[in-house]
């Protein structure tokens, strides 16, 4: 286990920010800490790094206790805060050099690494410009460059795509995927569930300081949405198709949606669906397997919780 937390709790006065959190993240995993703003994601991250003290519970990151061995821990764990800031009047290079000195890197080694990470993040050409002129996306990449400077084993990213335009966000997510390929364990938090679900091996969904759901995206979809496979088809005429398809084995529900139908099924039954449509004498114009969206999982879960209450 790279990151382990047991019964982790943080209270600010009477307000409970995080309650009874159990977390176990393995080496090389990309884990998504997801949930709306104010649900305790950042507080959890700060506790993992030892930047804030837990009210109760234990944490181990790479086997280190953040409260007692913060230096060894922070030497191997990179952290990109949610609203990353730099010293605006200093250049990108100077900002990195400061962090390298704080990490105690020898000068030659530091310069070698700085050149490499700036190159990798596509910032080599603007290295000598003051950071105050940088765009949000460039700052974010400089932040990741700084994280990589210490050649970390674990990288913790707080809202990495916040404030980025869709293209920059996808590019940044691609860079995060690159970290996984290097064997770096990644913990990221986000409230943009659909944006990060593709790069997470596992996710934990937060709600009011509690981790309410945890697992692989498909597992969660299966558990919460019932049918994990959602098939969307367009055919004409639609009359009578819904009943026919609903009778197929494994279909949980059929819904009329616009000019087509949406099926939820336990398996990928696209070929059976196609056959059924053709046997009914209709013409099939499109048949797509939709990826379950975490947003939907989240929304549906709380709908059910509310209904149960």
């Amino acid at each position: 286990m790279v990151i382990e937390a047991q019964g982790l709790t943080k209270r600010y006065g009477k307000v409970v920010a995080v309650e009874g959190l159990n977390l176990a993240i393995e080496a090389g995993e990309v884990y998504g800490l997801l949930g709306p703003n104010g649900s305790g994601k950042t507080t959890t991250i700060l506790m993992l790094l030892g930047l804030t003290e837990p009210s109760a519970g234990t944490v181990r990151v790479l086997g280190f206790d953040p409260a007692r061995e913060p230096l060894s821990l922070k030497r191997q764990v990179g952290y990109l805060p949610d609203s990353v800031g730099f010293y605006g009047e200093m250049t990108a290079w100077e900002n990195l050099a400061y962090i390298a000195r704080l990490n105690g890197l020898p000068k030659a080694e530091a310069e070698r690494r700085m050149g490499r990470v700036l190159e990798r993040m596509g910032l080599a050409e603007v290295a000598d410009r003051p950071v105050s002129a940088f765009s949000r996306g460039m700052r974010q990449r400089l932040g990741l460059a700084e994280v990589l400077l210490k050649e970390p084993k674990v990288v913790i990213l707080d809202e990495p795509t916040l404030g980025l335009d869709p293209e920059a966000a996808q590019e940044f997510l691609g860079m995060i995927r690159g970290l996984k390929a290097e064997g770096i364990t990644v913990l990221l938090s986000s409230h943009l569930l659909h944006q990060v679900q593709a790069i997470c091996d596992r996710v934990g969904l937060f709600h009011k300081g509690r981790l309410v759901l945890e697992g692989r995206v498909e597992e969660l979809a299966q558990r919460v949405l019932g049918g994990a496979y959602r098939i969307r088809l367009e055919a004409s005429p639609l009359e009578g198709l819904a009943e026919r398809l609903g009778a197929l084995p494994g279909v949980a529900r059929v819904q009329l949606e616009g000019t087509g139908l949406r099926l939820e099924a336990a398996q990928d039954i696209r070929s059976q669906v196609a056959r059924a449509v053709l046997e009914a004498g209709a013409s099939l114009t499109s048949l797509v397997l939709e990826q379950p969206s975490l947003d939907e999982v989240y929304a549906r879960y709380f709908q059910e919780v509310r209904h149960a209450a």
Partner: protein, 323 residues
């Protein structure tokens, strides 16, 4: 982890101190604030030497402490060098320290810096020492300018004791500046907005510069009321007044440099006639005796600096990284 180590922090709190120190020092030296301070330094040095030289040229009697007179002599409308320093240094110290910690919050750099393998101790110490070193640099520049200019204008080289007194004066001034740097640092931890912090620090300065004298007088009258039929009550009131006004770092500094720069000063409090029996009035004290006289004030200033730093330290250690 061994059980014996439990409850202990790993590593040294000084890791990263010098990285912070040099970064902050470079920031200070290249900042616009510093440009403004440099212009002020130049003006004040020229003004002080001019005022000193004007006064001294009018003196015909022999004076063994010419250099020290340059520091203390005032020529209307120019204040003396010392008076100028006690006015200018608190402002310079506040200017260097008021946004030390809240500036990191406002630029969103604090969590990034604290995620590096350093303790908060290193950040605060580094910032404090960098501020102090910058002030020392300003002071030294000012001091050398004044000494150099007065050598040119007066043409009298200072002797060993004068240089010793001048260096002690420099030390006392640095301690005084440290007090205000400490106050600015505490404000920068307490207040999230840089403007509020600067204003609060200046308010403290104004309080001691303008109001504390009045308050000390009222307090002294309340504690030791003057009785016209009891001459001793007058002395008690004077002593109470002195005790109260010594709460202010300004008083401590003024007394310390009075003793250091003026070898004729034999006491910083009220003196009774009986205590002067056998004294040669106006004859200068040796350096060691003057130092002894200023010792409580000097240690008081240094202790106050450390106390303020400790307060900032405790406040900062408990502060959440996120607002």
């Amino acid at each position: 982890m061994q059980p014996s180590l439990k409850g202990r922090r790993e590593g040294s709190p000084w890791v990263g101190l010098w990285a912070v120190f040099f970064k902050e020092m470079a920031d200070h030296l290249s900042s616009t604030r510093m440009r403004i301070l440099e212009v002020l330094i130049l003006f004040s040095a020229v003004g002080a030497v001019y005022a000193g030289a004007q006064t001294l040229r009018q003196t015909v009697s022999e004076d063994p402490f010419l250099l020290l007179r340059v520091f203390t002599a005032a020529q209307d409308p120019l204040p003396s060098f010392v008076a100028f320093l006690s006015f200018f240094l608190p402002l310079a110290a506040i200017a260097l320290g008021f946004d030390a910690i809240n500036g990191e919050y406002n630029r969103n750099t604090l969590s990034r810096v604290l995620a590096q393998p350093i303790y908060r101790d290193a950040l605060l110490w580094g910032k404090f020492l960098a501020g102090l070193a910058t002030l020392a640099l300003i002071l030294l520049a000012l001091f050398l300018l004044v000494v150099g200019l007065s050598l040119i204008f007066l043409g009298v080289p200072p002797d060993g004791e004068e240089v010793g007194r001048a260096l002690l004066f420099l030390l006392a001034t640095l301690a005084y500046a440290g007090v205000w740097l400490g106050i600015a640092l505490v404000c920068s931890v307490l207040f999230r907005s840089a403007a509020t912090s600067a204003l609060a620090a200046i308010a403290v300065w104004l309080f001691f510069a303008l109001f504390w004298g009045i308050i000390a007088q009222l307090l002294a009258q309340a504690v030791a009321p003057y009785d016209p039929f009891n001459p001793e009550s007058e002395l008690r009131q004077a002593e109470a007044l002195l005790a109260f006004s010594r709460v202010s770092p300004n008083t401590l500094y003024a007394e310390a440099i009075q003793a250091i720069l003026n070898p004729g000063v034999r006491s910083l409090g009220p003196v009774l006639i009986s205590q002067l029996q056998g004294a040669l009035l106006g004859s200068p004290l040796p350096l060691g005796q003057s130092l002894l006289l200023a010792w409580p004030q000097l240690t008081g200033l240094i202790a106050l600096t450390l106390l303020l730093f400790a307060l900032a330290y405790v406040l900062f250690q408990r502060r959440e990284v996120r607002a």
